[in-house]
């Protein structure tokens, strides 16, 4: 993590701690939840703490980005710019300390540039909106990839660009959602939910291979959604309506799977966003459980963070997740219209 990023998170941590402490006094959500809100670390004692709440933000102001005078003037004349999250579906932090949030509610991608203290709503060329931006991935060069499931396209936001450009792909997509980029090779892994496949593209958009097809066997999918490449180069896919997570090697060979349908912690009734931290823990967002569930790399269940609610560590139909430097965990908490930020602060032993 860069020094700036550190400063941002540490600084905000102090500000936000105060805010959350104040808010949790009135935020009584139900039996058994209050103490979680107040602690701001999980699991609660006497278990060893693993996760720490860092902050939550709903717009540029929460990140210390202020409107300059000219922008204020422009907002008055040309209508309000969409600086507030409405229904965030995906989030990434790019290498140069920018946070991107895909938000179908505002039909665009929010770009919070923390180094330059600037906000921008990224649209397509000619100011065309994104009707359904649902997936984001950060590339090695600071570029960010965006999927729009309704436009059935993949887009790229180059560093310094204020528009997203469509990437010509060597394949027709049905309904793309999750996207991941393998840093070293630059290969793009795209989940095409509509065709129950993962498609792998080269940097130039050439289709290298397709994995899956509809079914319940190992290596098949039923409406897969989100995807993540871990440090070992393995590909983790949320096979959402098969209620499981599948793991493949970089070439798409099936390695292992875990999860089944159920209504309690450890099951995966509706797994979506997926990510890993530096210790190999697998974080799976489940929008039916309104939780982030954590598994070890073999799929053994470790912990469930979250319940339906709007306090810290609670979620309302969460979807996307991103884990960046220093095991900083961003969760797109869609119907709470915010991004919650946590950090893995436990030991390396599962």
């Amino acid at each position: 993590m860069t020094t700036c990023s550190k400063r941002f998170l540490n600084g905000l941590q102090l500000v936000c701690l105060g805010l959350v402490m104040a808010s949790c006094v009135s935020a009584v959500k139900g039996p058994g939840q209050r103490e979680h809100v107040a602690e701001l670390v999980w699991p609660p004692p006497p278990s060893a703490q693993r996760l720490t709440f860092v902050t939550s933000f709903s717009g540029a102001k929460d990140l210390g980005i202020r409107k300059r005078f000219l922008q204020q003037l422009r907002a008055l004349v040309g209508g309000q710019r969409q600086e507030h999250l409405e229904r965030p579906m995906a989030v990434v932090e790019s290498a140069d300390n920018k946070i991107f949030v895909a938000d179908p509610g505002v039909r665009g991608v929010h770009l919070f540039d923390l180094n330059r203290s600037k906000y921008r709503l990224v649209l397509r060329e000619n100011d065309e909106p994104f009707p359904s931006p649902v997936g984001l991935a950060a590339g090695p060069g600071g570029e960010v990839y965006v999927t729009d499931s309704q436009l059935a396209g993949l887009y790229i936001i180059e560093p310094g660009d204020s528009r997203a450009r469509k990437i010509p792909l060597d394949a027709i997509l049905a309904q793309p959602t999750g996207v991941a980029v393998d840093g070293p090779s630059g290969r793009i892994y795209l989940v095409d939910t509509g065709s129950h496949e993962v498609k792998i593209f080269g940097r130039d958009g050439a289709l290298l291979s397709r994995i899956g097809g509809r079914g319940t066997e190992a290596g098949q999918f039923n409406f897969p959604t989100m995807i993540w490449i871990n440090a070992a180069g393995e590909m983790l896919v949320s096979d959402t309506l098969n209620f499981r997570t599948q793991v493949f090697d970089a070439d798409g060979n099936f390695l292992r799977q875990f999860g089944s349908a159920g209504d309690r912690a450890g099951y995966q009734p509706q797994s979506k966003g997926i990510a890993t931290d530096s210790h190999g823990h697998v974080y799976v967002v489940d929008s039916m459980l309104h939780a982030v569930q954590i598994f070890d790399s073999d799929g053994s269940f470790l912990y469930r963070l979250g319940l339906l609610g709007d306090g810290a560590g609670e979620f309302w139909l969460p979807t996307g997740i991103f884990i960046g430097e220093q095991d900083t965990i961003y969760v797109a908490d869609s119907y709470n219209a915010r991004i919650q930020v946590f950090r893995y602060t436990g030991s390396g032993i599962p």
């Binding site: 278990s47 959602t177 989100m226 469930r304 309302w316």
Partner: protein, 563 residues
């Protein structure tokens, strides 16, 4: 956690299987897009579940799993989305069964042409319009009394059986959709999702006979598609509510309208491509009611008189699209449906009884109105005050005029006639002007939204067209033959003095003028008429067809020049 026993199992069955499942096999689900197990082996045969259910109804797990990090905390019970009490939920977010819908309909598993969010569509005491945003609200209590459109909402008991509220009395996705039954398109609970479904709750007076519910007009496929969320092949009657509204993906959400600029919802059809009359072109004319100037300012619950900052005009300020008259005169129809206005005394009225009461909303007492274009001895910008029937003289809009001898009037007009604002303020191509354009004050090539030419510049050569507006009621021959004022020809024709130099067309308020000086609409234009040598600027009424003037005009001094 209670040990699962018989009660536990019974509870499981109740929670997992929707009400009525015992008698139903959910045949309507088969082969629909919600039949997600279509090509799949049973997901959990050991649990005895119907495998088609588990995608939305998570099967109850057999054993609690704590997780290795969790040393002694019990696991939380699963929140069955349709099983949470309303009291435990914050307002403004989807809850109940809608959570199960939105879990897939978020743009990932299913495309989210659903932007519905749980914002109550209620007018919160004078606050900014807390109206429907993006999509139709879900997870809101159905409370007709406090709804924005409360007076037109069906009572709870009056809702059709198929349109159901949840056990907390809330509108949910399931109020309009039955996810278990694909009999009707989009899993709707009834066949006609364009109108019948909407009017289950929204009972707009006059709707059933409204042309928007009955017209057989179709789109001629020219210019912009008037119906962006339909197949656009049907008739106005078939689309009904969907002519203007869309439940999930409205323009920018206000009132669930198709287009974010209010007027576009009307002008998409009223441009000659669906409706015969081309209103859109009227708004391209130089003088117009500027419906394009404001967006998102009009509110359905706004006060009759607007604050200066809210001053605006939209189509719906004069028209009620839910009880549109079709070919019938809008002028008469507005009165019939009772839209709000300001009465002759300046008081707000919920149901206008005359056209002028509608005009007075903006051109009467309210703040923010503009000055009249012609400077006069007695300036007055309040149109209601100008037309008051107690005035020394006035054009007969509110009541027949004072002057019982007006020889120039063209039959059937007579001294006891009354006229309407729209007899003068209307389209230059309206029927009164012999044109084929729309009647009414939408736009005109003539200033002040007048339907005919009306010159007010000094030294205008007299012609039938220069004063076409006046001559449409006051016979030119009679005027120029001096049948009323014996010096009309001398002034108007020989000396090129415009009618407006002496006459103030609306009227002169009794608070400013008096019957001796301001009969016959006399109120001089002070840019043309100046004080006399003896520093007087007035007319003196000396009885029928008799008077005197004290003024200077075209360098002629009148100090008591009489006739």
């Amino acid at each position: 956690m209670r040990a699962p026993g018989l009660t536990g199992i019974a509870l499981v069955v109740l929670l997992v299987t929707p009400v009525g499942a015992q008698e139903q096999d959910y045949a309507g689900l088969t082969d629909t897009r919600h039949d997600l197990a279509l090509y799949l082996r049973p997901v959990s045969p050991d649990q005895g579940e119907d495998t088609r259910c588990v995608f939305c109804h998570a099967p109850r797990s057999q054993s609690p799993s704590l997780g290795a990090w969790n040393e002694d905390q019990p696991d939380h019970l699963f929140d069955y989305p349709y099983d949470r009490p309303a009291a435990a939920l914050p307002a403004g977010k989807p809850d109940g069964s809608s959570l199960a819908c939105l879990g897939c309909h978020d743009g990932t598993i299913a495309l989210a042409d659903i932007a519905s969010r749980a914002q109550p569509a209620m007018a919160v005491s004078g606050a900014a319009p807390a109206t429907v945003s993006h999509g139709h609200p879900v997870s809101v209590l159905y409370e007709p009394a406090s709804a924005l459109d409360g007076k037109n909402m069906a009572s709870r008991d009056d809702l059709p059986q198929r349109v159901r509220l949840d056990k907390n009395g809330k509108v949910q996705c399931t109020s309009c959709h039955d996810p278990h039954d694909g009999t009707y398109a989009n899993f709707l609970v009834m066949e006609d999702g364009n109108t019948a479904l909407c009017v289950s709750c929204h009972r707009k007076p006059g709707w059933s006979s409204s042309s928007h519910n009955t017209a057989s007009a179709t789109w001629n496929h020219r210019a912009q598609d008037p119906w962006p969320y339909t197949d656009s092949l049907g008739t106005v009657a078939e689309y009904g509510c969907a002519n203007c509204h869309t439940p999930h993906t409205a323009g920018d959400g206000r009132y669930l309208l198709n287009f974010s600029h209010e007027e576009d919802n009307c002008l998409a059809c009223h441009n000659g491509n669906v409706a015969e009359t081309d209103i859109r072109s009227e708004f391209n004319k130089t003088s117009r009611h500027p419906v394009e100037l404001t967006t998102a300012v009009h509110r359905s619950d706004e006060p009759v008189e607007l604050a200066p900052s809210d001053r605006h005009v939209e189509c719906v300020d004069c028209h009620d699209p839910h009880s549109s008259p079709g070919k019938q005169s809008v002028r008469e129809f507005n009165i019939a449906v009772g839209i709000p206005g300001i009465d002759v005394n300046g008081a707000a009225t919920t149901e206008i009884v005359a056209e002028y009461e509608l005009c007075f909303r903006c051109h009467g007492d309210g703040p923010g109105r503009r000055a009249m274009p012609t400077p006069r001895v007695h300036d007055q910008s309040n149109v209601r005050v100008q037309f008051d029937s107690g005035n020394p003289s006035f054009h007969p809009v509110l009541a027949p005029g004072n002057n019982l001898d007006v020889p120039s009037l063209i039959a059937p007009l007579a001294e006891n006639s009354t006229i309407h604002c729209t007899d003068c303020h209307s389209s230059d191509s309206d029927s009164k002007s012999g044109g084929r354009g729309p009647d009414g004050p939408h736009g005109s090539i003539f200033r002040s939204l007048l339907n005919r030419n009306y010159q007010t510049q000094d030294r205008t050569p007299e012609s039938p067209s220069a004063y076409a507006l006046c001559y449409s009621c006051h016979d030119r021959t009679s005027i120029l033959n001096d049948e009323s004022f014996p010096e009309h020809r001398l002034h108007v024709s020989d000396n090129n003095v415009p009618c407006s130099a002496c006459h103030d067309p609306h009227g002169i308020s009794f608070t400013q003028g008096n019957p001796d000086a301001n009969s016959h609409l006399i109120n001089f234009d002070t840019s043309i008429v100046f004080p006399s040598a003896s520093d007087e600027l007035r007319f003196e009424d000396r009885g029928n067809q008799s008077g005197a003037c004290f003024l200077a005009c075209h360098n002629n001094n009148h100090d008591g020049t009489s006739y």
